[in-house]
């Protein structure tokens, strides 16, 4: 099968590769680019573990062909830290609020929450829950993931995060 040449920008760096048209974006990222932070969970567009940011949209990279991402700007979990290597507000929030247990869903959660906070810098709890409805976590019951995103929103807005009483 003839291969197609693709170029895209991933976490600020120009990358290229030869792919079959049927190569899924998540496989291009994990296998060609050897960036394995983006996880494959369900492989059926449900779980959101493979979420990456593509041209300003959160997308499930198991359901996009690499050829469709020709020329795209992509950000993965590897591109989420601050430029100086310190943790971003979201990463810090997941750490401080214990927003993960096994960690498998976490890259997708953080990449999705990043776009959510770009679009809605001061989300309500309901906005957050609706905003991460495409990301499944089988460990935490979501409480601490919601808190982690609230923590990051507060930090980005320069206000003190107060945990709601339970």
């Amino acid at each position: 099968m003839a291969k197609t040449h693709v170029t895209m920008t991933v976490n600020g760096a120009q990358v290229e590769g030869l792919v079959e048209p049927r190569t899924l974006l998540v496989h291009f990222i994990r296998e060609n680019l050897q960036m394995t932070g983006t996880h494959i969970g369900c492989d059926t567009t449900h779980c959101g573990a493979c979420t990456v940011d593509l041209n300003g949209m959160s997308v499930k990279s198991c359901t996009v062909f690499a050829v469709q991402a020709e020329g795209a700007e992509i950000t993965t979990i590897e591109g989420m830290a601050n430029a100086d290597g310190t943790l971003s507000a979201l990463q810090e929030g997941f750490r401080m609020m214990h927003g993960l247990q096994c960690g498998y869903c976490t890259p997708g959660m953080i990449v999705r929450a990043h776009r959510l906070l770009q679009e809605n810098p001061s989300p309500t709890e309901e906005d957050i829950r609706a905003g991460i409805a495409g990301n499944l976590c089988r460990c935490t019951g979501y409480q601490n993931i919601v808190k982690a995103i609230q923590y990051a929103a507060a930090k980005q807005n320069g206000v003190e995060f107060k945990e709601a009483a339970e």
Partner: protein, 287 residues
Amino acid sequence: MIPGQFDYHRPASLAEAVHLMATLGEDARALAGGHSLIPMMKLRLATPAHLIDLGGIGALKGIRRDGDHIVIGATTTQHDLLASAPIAEALPVLQEASRLIADPQVRYLGTIGGNVANGDPGNDMPAVMMALGANYRLEGEGGAREVPAAEFYQGAYFTALEPGELLTAVVIPVPPAGHGFAYEKLKRKVGDYATAAAAVVLTMAGGRVATCRIGLTNLAEVPLLADAAAQAVIGTDLDDASLQRAAAAAMAIMQPAADGRGSPDYRRHVGGIMVQRALKRAAARAS
């Protein structure tokens, strides 16, 4: 899961896409958001030899007003609909339905054209389009034609689209100001297809229903326009007896499949409830 092999085409214009569709015939499938097609390809339930990616055709994307109609390009996404001020003002039912489709990631890529052209009885937009009295614009090498949503669906995954044709836009008559609307969808969880769903678009005059159209999702092999149910409430103030007559008339045309969402009897039962809820909520919103 890896899909089967295919040749990838990315036309830059609608003319080029239509030419490819005509030339490649039934071996080709159009690729829009891909969120119905790619999962089917991964399961090898779809094995097209050619994919024609519509993503590079700017003319297929966007929302515009054309007199008393709104024309929505086929590759306009659910996310675009949710972000659109003209849609919020003129066709809020599309936003209510979009919010109930899948999840945020899917809505960034899932398109209105894919949703209505796919022919999956679980897709939400077809019943909404029937309730709105929308037409679909179909274009092939022989020219363009418009088909009413209510006449488009022939069976599960069988539609009025001929080989070589593309659905390029939906054309929706703008409902009158003060119309009432609702899309009531029962589903097991976020992201699921409907166990049963009902779309209602109506107008009220003097406390009584003046006009009404009702569409039903996932309650037969095709989306249904529930004409008799709508007739049962026109002229009434939606008293309990009228609501029950409407539900019974809608249930009479439902032929739901048995699947993980429930037995046919159960789905017909909740289908009737969705009709009643949608009617009540639409009427409460009308002025």
